[in-house]
Amino acid sequence: MEELFRDYWWLLFPLSWMVYAGWTGFLHERRRAEAFKLIRTYREKGQEPPAELARMALGREC
């Protein structure tokens, strides 16, 4: 097991990156879904949703 780790320790970098990217992607999508829900609340009340909210829902916040 130790020998295996010594041969492939460098795999920790791409694997960590993939886990990190998956995690942030998941959070990003959840936030977008919540922004859509909030926009729906504004619409139901007949109000105009804020521009920042619309941008976030469209994934344009960065």
Partner: protein, 151 residues
């Protein structure tokens, strides 16, 4: 096991960076979710949410507080030269450590040198691109302020 730790102790630093980054992402997500909950209350009362609350939504979830990915924000355009300098100095330091075979970890220090150098170059290129594209972004932001995009 102890021998393995002595050989790869330095891995704690890059791996900690991933863990801290993931934790920061979770906190950023929580912050924007709380802001949206608050906005929902404002919307229920028919009130306009304060601008500072709206600003909370403009940060990406993977923003690490250093201005990374904040290409739309002026802070990034101001801070990138300092980051280029920092990662360049780190790369030189680790190169020196590799050339001196410090702690007998020449190969490990070479890899860290390469990573630090790559981050310095990427930050430099990113900063220059953001600076060159800054005028376009400013125009886009001004246009969005005048004419907010519809959902």
């Amino acid at each position: 096991m102890e021998d393995l730790f002595r050989s790869y102790w330095w891995l704690l630093f890059p791996l900690s960076w991933f863990i801290i980054g993931g934790w920061n992402s979770w906190l950023n997500y929580r912050r924007s979710r709380d802001a949206m909950d608050l906005m929902r209350q404002y919307a229920a009362q028919g009130k306009e949410p304060p601008p500072d609350l709206m600003r909370t939504l403009s940060y990406p979830v993977d923003d690490d507080g250093w201005g990374r990915r904040r290409y739309r924000h002026y802070g990034y355009r101001r801070s990138w030269p300092a980051r280029v300098a920092m990662f360049s100095i780190l790369a030189v330091g680790f190169y020196w450590a590799a050339s001196e075979n410090l702690y007998g970890a020449e190969d490990a220090f070479k890899i860290v040198t390469f990573v630090m150098g790559a981050i310095a170059v990427a930050t430099l290129v990113g900063g220059l691109v953001a600076r060159l594209g800054g005028r376009d972004l400013d125009r886009e932001l001004d246009r969005d302020r005048r004419d907010p995009p519809s959902p």
